[in-house]
């Protein structure tokens, strides 16, 4: 009996010591699903890394999640864009108040330095390098150290966004020996083979390609309102608010650093993250599974402390059909497949209704460009049957057959998707069942991520299911839909397009005003629907929970779906 008592006492002591620790009210704790690979502002490759770097560094322009608009961040205003012959000149002026952690001002020297780092050979910059390849040179205003002009090759509608969408680095901290100062930006644009042997570039690469520029809070200090206090790999990243940060004086709604401390807690498993939120150990949880989200909506205890949000995202699920294959080369067969995609059921089963069906590639919430005159394909077996018959397919007891190139071929479909994505897996299985109603055998293939992408590039697929992430700023679909990208290795995987659609894509990019652009984009949606090669199914809704003690969360469909730096503690 004495032993049992001893055991009970020890257990009681142990359990009391296991209780949850008290939370600091001015700390925001956010969940990350995985550790960022790197925090290098010129070589980040994942969204988690981007989320953290955004709190440390600024770019010239950035999305304000309040209204999903592109707004000046380090720049004083949106740039002045001039098209001259084969080049585009983009002129920026930096904010007067903008300064680095040591109090020195952000100048055009820093922008020039950043471009050199982004373009330099030998340096760890491969992820970001292609993005700034169109910038040929930077011309500094001799009278105003804050004004400069970017000289860019040609013109594309996304140039404004791209010219301001890279993190600006402090030259004083990243290149204290001024190794790159003597080399002009233009030298990094032409052939880089000379620079590969340049002593200064080699010395800079050796200095820069070290872990300090990937994970060290002493080095990774930008102009944003936070400093990296601690990074315990695989566990937590802690950021602390800068004292006397210049952004507070700037009085711009998109320049914020309100919480004193932000902790990003790495929790890979969704169930664990949800339990941690229920326990009050997390303040923000995004990407909540649809089924769990529905349960939370009716959990009164949870709703006492947390607010739930479902912003319309810019992320869609689409089906791609390989139109190069003889059996899918005619549009009626592809349309028949489109009628067998039970989108309403996909949304019901995989998204619990947290999604909006779409008629085309433009998100339904971008109302100016979304074609409301079209109706999305609805599941219709009769219509699919008629279309197959019209396409020359004959129905027999054992399926559908057609003579192609002198040989009789059955209609079979292999649908592939990236393994591990349960939403796509369920959708593929639903499609398999739907097609079975018309006696069409469907083979469902889950493929490892890299293998799946390699197969798409090699056109080694029949039909695939995939997600596509967009934005409300730029609509240049050339890479996805132009025939010049339909070669092996290109990004037009489905083989969509002809001379007419290519001309339409060109017209979208050169449209002189938003009205013209809207007209062309609506036409593109109509063409895409008719062709049924690239079939957008629906746009997802994000599912987020945020603790009620914070206000001004700036919920948005743009990732990460909230602006943690804007969070204000409610009184």
């Amino acid at each position: 009996m004495r032993k049992v008592h001893r055991l009970l006492y020890s257990l009681a002591i142990f359990l009391s010591f296991c209780s949850q620790p008290q939370r600091q009210p001015d700390e925001v704790r956010v969940r990350l699903s995985s550790d960022p690979q790197t925090l290098s502002p010129v070589n980040y490759s994942d969204s988690n890394g981007l989320q953290v770097i955004n709190l440390l560094f600024h770019s010239l322009l950035g999305a304000d999640l309040e209204d999903d608009q592109l707004k000046p961040v380090l720049a004083k205003s949106l740039p002045l864009i001039e098209q001259k012959d084969s080049v585009t000149l983009i002129t920026y002026e930096l904010r007067e108040e903008a300064e680095w952690t040591n109090g020195s001002p952000v100048t055009s020297d820093d922008i020039a330095f950043t471009l050199k780092v982004l373009k330099a050979p030998l340096v760890q910059n491969e992820m970001m390098k292609p993005q700034v390849a169109f910038i040929r040179d930077l011309i500094q205003d001799k009278e105003n150290k804050r004004r400069f002009t970017l000289v860019c090759d040609g013109f594309t509608p996304e140039m404004e966004l791209l010219s301001g969408d890279f993190f600006i680095l402090p030259a004083y901290l990243f290149d204290p020996e001024n190794l790159l100062k003597s080399i002009p930006v233009a030298a990094f644009t032409d052939s880089l083979s000379k620079l590969e042997n340049n002593k200064n570039v080699k010395a800079f690469a050796a200095w820069f390609n070290t872990p300090a520029f990937n994970n060290n809070g002493q080095t990774l200090q930008g102009s944003a309102g936070y400093l990296l206090e601690k990074w315990v790999p695989g566990q937590t990243l802690t950021l602390k608010q800068k004292k006397n940060w210049w952004g507070k004086e700037a009085k711009a709604s998109n320049l914020t650093a309100n919480p004193k401390r932000i902790t990003l807690q790495v929790i890979p498993d969704n169930t664990t993250a949800l339990l941690a939120t229920k326990n009050g150990q997390l303040d923000v949880l995004s990407d909540i599974a649809a089924l769990e989200f529905d349960k939370l909506k009716s959990n009164k205890d949870f709703l006492k402390n947390y607010e739930l949000h479902t912003p319309q995202s810019y992320s869609s699920v689409y089906v791609g059909i390989n139109s190069r294959l003889p059996k899918f080369s005619d549009k009626q067969t592809r349309q028949a497949i489109a009628y067998l995609l039970d989108v309403a059921n996909f949304i019901k089963v995989t998204q619990q209704q947290y999604a909006t069906p779409t008629v085309g590639i433009i998100p339904p919430n971008v109302t100016a460009y979304y074609n409301t005159n079209l109706k999305p394909y609805a599941f219709n077996v009769t219509k699919a049957k008629q279309l197959l018959q019209a396409a020359g397919w004959q129905e027999r007891n054992n399926g559908w057959f057609r003579t192609i190139n002198g040989k009789e071929q059955p209609l079979t479909i292999a649908i592939s998707y990236k393994a591990g994505n349960t939403v796509l897996e369920s959708s593929a299985l639903i499609f398999q069942q739907s097609a079975a109603k018309l006696n069409i055998p469907v083979q469902v293939e889950a493929q490892e991520g890299n293998l799946f992408n390699q197969n798409l590039k090699a056109h080694n697929f029949e039909v695939f299911l995939r997600t596509l992430t967009g934005n409300p700023f730029a609509f240049n679909f050339t890479a996805l839909l132009h025939t010049s990208f339909a070669e092996k290795g290109g990004t037009n995987y489905t083989g969509f397009g002809n001379a007419e659609s290519d001309a339409l894509l060109q017209a979208i990019n050169t449209a002189p005003n938003p009205e013209q652009k809207a007209l062309h984009l609506k036409k593109l949606q109509q063409v895409m629907q008719e062709e049924a090669t690239f079939i957008p199914l629906y746009y997802q809704k994000e599912r987020i929970a945020i603790h009620k003690r914070f206000g001004n969360a700036k919920i948005s469909g743009l990732k990460p779906n909230y602006d943690v730096s804007a969070f204000e503690l409610k009184q």
Partner: protein, 365 residues
């Protein structure tokens, strides 16, 4: 004994080398390379970040910087189609190309001789440093759970092997069979839902290894802070391994109890407990030592799941992330460490055999 161990260690080295070489070569056979997917994805979407040519150039720069542009091994097999085009029937023989020492394997192996496992492609940090950091948590998890599993398996086996414990044996063995049918992830999730959930019992922290604390903590304080976080993962690993080990130990004990010398011990009037603990257990342990030495890989496999569910940064999770990112130096580094640990566990098993059975010790001499 020492000489025997030294000889075992010497035999281990070539086995280890072959194993690691195979892992090095096979890991590179995985489709895709580090960063390839991310660079190519920049071209897809509502606008393209750079042209295809620029992205290809960036990828080539990445390959060159990480030496992935070099041939994989000293020799390369030419694809069959190429051979066919150049010779008649000679394509039936493999067409080999000698690459010299400028190959990925040579560079990696040369670095290994200097004690370096290379640098992570993702973070540029030395692989050894990354492994040391991750292994710190995994080792604690493994050692504590292994020790607890052994102790519990011993206690349960001894208690159910006794003649009088028929009911207890039935209940415990049935429970263990049931437990064995539970996958680790399910046990982990159940423990979380039952013992770290405000809707049920909220006794333990849900995730990680402690929360943010300003300033540095002493080793002891850090251990105290981490301990409650380790309770559920340890319980989970113990529950995963307990049925297998207990079953082995119980079967072994039961067999030993049939031996003549046990009958003699009983005839001398020794109490049942003393017969089991003093006479039977030592002999029963012999087959169990083999099982114990095989426990390590099973536990490492278990930690992959446990570390993901309980958000503990350890070797298991590191391996999964590295495989997904194609961070080859880290993948090979982890396998090298696990292989070394496995080899060492075999040597430890040999020592334990010798300690458990003096006949083995004498034979070795």
């Amino acid at each position: 004994m020492l000489r025997y161990l030294f000889r075992r260690l010497l035999y281990t080295i070539p086995t280890l080398w072959v194993m690691v070489t195979l892992i090095f070569l096979l890991s590179r056979v995985l489709p895709g390379t580090f960063g390839q997917e991310q660079i190519s994805q920049a071209g897809e979407g509502f606008y393209s970040k750079g042209s295809q040519q620029q992205r290809n150039a960036a990828h080539e720069q990445l390959l060159a910087r990480t030496n992935q542009h070099l041939p994989l091994f000293y020799v390369t097999f030419a694809p069959l189609a190429t051979s066919q085009a150049t010779s008649n029937y000679s394509y039936l023989l493999p067409d080999l190309t000698w690459n010299g020492t400028k190959n990925q394997y040579h560079i990696w192996a040369a670095a290994l001789f200097t004690g370096s496992l290379g640098e992570s492609f993702a973070s540029s940090r030395p692989v050894l440093e990354i492994l040391w950091e991750a292994a710190g948590n995994t080792i604690w998890l493994l050692l504590i759970s292994m020790a607890l599993t052994i102790v519990l398996a011993l206690l349960i086996s001894v208690s159910i092997v006794q003649d009088r414990a028929v009911k207890r044996r039935r209940v415990l063995l049935s429970f263990l069979i049931l437990l064995d049918s539970f996958p680790v992830f399910l046990t982990g999730l159940l423990l979380l839902l039952l013992l770290a959930n405000p809707d049920a019992l909220q006794l333990f922290p849900v995730f990680g290894l402690g929360y943010h604390h300003a300033g540095e903590q002493s080793g002891f304080m850090s251990f105290i802070v981490n301990l409650p976080h380790l309770v559920l993962p340890i319980i989970c690993l113990v529950l995963a391994e307990l049925p297998y080990l207990t079953n082995h130990l119980y079967t072994s004990l039961k067999g030993t109890l049939q031996a003549d010398y046990i009958r003699t011990a009983r005839a001398k009037g020794l109490p049942q407990n003393q017969v089991i603990v003093k006479h039977a257990l030592r002999n029963a342990l012999l087959p169990v030592i083999t099982v114990l030495s095989d426990m390590l890989p099973a536990l490492v496999a278990g930690t992959v799941v446990i570390e993901t569910i309980f958000a503990i940064p350890g070797v298991g999770r590191l391996l999964v992330t590295s495989v997904l990112a194609r961070d080859f130096p880290v993948i090979v580094g982890i396998v090298v460490i696990i292989a070394i640990a496995k080899m060492l566990s075999h040597i430890v098993a040999d020592i334990l055999y010798a300690l458990a059975d003096p006949r083995i010790r004498h034979n070795q001499k």
